[in-house]
């Protein structure tokens, strides 16, 4: 029962990933809520605002899908903070910490659940988009690359979200924290409108922040435009966020205990 044994760390991780995955299917309300909201956004922007937005040659729905997909993933990634705050409040984390196990793997379980949940939501989203007239031109390899970037982005934000879950004082605070970070990052980006239309200061921010790179990379891959530097910049940003957040989250997790 040595908890430093690699085999046990591995098996504990599997057990806790299984737990978090079961949560997805036992909490279908949450999965639906996380999917329906972006679908509503897509309908709203696609049919109501879209006509007034100039996307220069590209149809608005083709322009929009990448932005909606990334925004959805960002909001989806905040589920980790909610799950962790819930586990903390319910005493589940205390219980895990009193066991002869690698208890920090509980964080990893929630992060992996975000990946799976976002993947499922993304498929539903794209089906709705296709019905709305979305016509992607991506090849199979492009789709693989899109999936990879989206999952890497979710992974990075889920670890950031894990930190929020560990520092927040209540479940409600977690929800607000997530909102305050994700909302400006996704709206002050190229998600819904081309950045050229923004005032210069906002534009400078919007064009250089990670969410825009991820959106532009995915958009370009989807509709067959040149990807420029967005793909590698997305990867660098996501990897950097992950590298910073994992040790911070692990530290915060261990903070109060031996």
């Amino acid at each position: 029962m040595n908890n430093n044994n690699i085999y046990y760390i591995f098996s504990d991780t599997i057990v806790l990933i299984t737990r978090s995955l079961k949560h997805i299917f036992k909490n279908l309300d949450q999965l639906l809520a996380l999917t329906i909201q972006p679908v509503m956004f897509m309908l709203l922007f696609g049919y109501v605002f879209g006509g007034a937005i100039n996307t220069g040659g590209v149809s608005y729905i083709n322009f929009l899908v990448a932005g909606i997909l990334v925004q959805m993933s960002a909001f989806g990634a905040t589920t980790t903070s909610l799950s962790i705050a819930m586990d903390l409040r319910r005493g589940i984390i205390d219980r895990f910490k009193s066991l002869p196990m690698a208890s920090s793997t509980v964080l990893f379980g929630h992060v992996v659940a975000d990946l799976v949940r976002n993947f499922l939501s993304a498929i539903i989203m794209i089906i709705v988009a296709l019905i709305m007239g979305f016509r992607p031109e991506a090849s199979f390899t492009d789709w693989l690359l899109i999936t990879g970037i989206l999952l890497l982005f979710t992974f990075a934000l889920s670890w950031l979200s894990a930190i929020m879950g560990l520092v927040a004082k209540s479940v409600e605070a977690v929800q607000w924290l997530g909102f305050f970070i994700v909302f400006p990052l996704t709206f002050a980006s190229a998600a819904f409108v081309p950045t050229q239309s923004m005032p210069s200061l906002l534009r400078a921010f919007a064009e250089n922040q990670p969410v825009t790179h991820v959106i532009e990379a995915i958009r370009a891959l989807m509709i067959g435009l040149p990807t420029g530097e967005h793909v590698w910049l997305s990867v660098v940003w996501c990897v950097a966020i992950t590298i910073v957040c994992i040790p911070v989250a692990s530290f915060l997790f261990r903070r109060h205990s031996i």
Partner: protein, 309 residues
């Protein structure tokens, strides 16, 4: 042989002194009840014993392992049942038990066997496949306790296992805890109820503001506090002063605001009659009269001169 040894343990949270040098021993196979009101330091003690918090000073040994030096050794020996039922709401009862078995790294066959045995023992078979969300408070507590027993740990910490339960669920929980003790495990239980400590434990330690203010067997403590109390509530405020002068007895307590007067007694009819006769002769009417067993409040009044806060 002591399963739990606490020597001069102190713990502060910033400026707040939570534990102020407590010392306790729990011999193997016995139960110690840590009795105290909210904020006395009960949960902090349990958290330190179960390696969730580090002691500031003093020494704590659980099953021979120092909690600060060898927490992983301690974790292999203990079962923890917290104040709030720490169960996974979304999973069902059986899945909760199986997950715990896996996290204790038990072999597959044993997990299966223990899961079914515990579901049976804790009267949860019918609810085993239902999501825990649908469980009643009593069922959650029972599942919570069952989870901590999956690996048959020799040392068990029960942090207020019956707080907030209805009388029937409490009784069921008491029976389960009694059976557990018979099986030879060592138990440290915290509670706010003197009755519970009296009913279950071999020894009681009374905790107040981070200090142990009294320690002994339930019998010893009760003999110091008095076995029972007679309490009368005087009907008219104007009669209270007179009644207070007339009624005499051990450990006399008066509360003018509540118009109550109580004494410690052996609970005999003779004593009850004596009080009633005094009041009757003086023509004083009462609102209510009761003979009751001492509560945590009485214990605190006795040892600290103030009620439990």
């Amino acid at each position: 042989m002591n399963a739990i040894v606490i020597k001069n343990l102190s713990k502060n949270f910033k400026d707040l002194v939570v534990l102020d040098g407590i010392s306790l021993d729990v011999p193997q196979g016995t139960m110690l009840a840590l009795l105290g009101p909210n904020g006395a330091g009960k949960t902090t003690t349990i958290k330190i014993l179960s390696t969730l918090l580090r002691p500031d000073s003093g020494q704590v040994f659980v099953g021979g392992f120092d909690v600060a030096q060898k927490p992983e050794g301690v974790r292999g020996l203990i079962g923890l049942t917290g104040q709030y039922a720490a169960v996974d709401e979304l999973l069902n009862g059986r899945e909760n038990l199986q997950m715990m078995g896996q996290l204790y790294h038990l072999p597959k066959d044993l997990i299966k066997q223990r899961t079914e045995a515990l579901l049976n023992q804790f009267d949860l078979v019918d609810a085993a496949n239902r999501s825990v969300k649908t469980y009643s408070g009593g069922m959650r507590r029972r599942l919570d306790l069952a989870l901590s027993l999956i690996a048959t740990p020799p040392i068990i910490f029960l942090d207020e296992p019956t707080t907030g339960l209805d009388p029937r669920s409490r009784l069921l929980m008491w029976n389960i805890i009694k059976d557990l003790l018979k099986s030879g495990v060592t138990i440290l239980l915290t509670t706010q109820y003197l009755e519970e400590a009296d009913n279950l434990a071999n020894k009681i330690a009374v905790l107040d503001k981070g200090k142990i203010i009294a320690q002994g067997t339930p019998k010893e403590l009760k003999s110091r506090v008095g076995t029972e109390r007679i309490e009368v509530i005087i009907e008219q405020k104007s009669d209270f002063k007179k009644a207070a002068q007339l009624i005499t007895g051990d450990d006399l307590r008066q509360n003018a605001e509540e118009r109550s007067i109580s004494i410690s007694t052996d609970g005999s009819v003779k004593e009850v009659k004596r009080i009633l006769d005094i009041l009757n002769q003086a023509g004083i009417e009462i609102d209510a009269m009761s003979v009751r067993t001492p509560t945590l409040d009485d214990v605190f009044l006795h040892f600290t001169g103030k009620g439990a806060e």
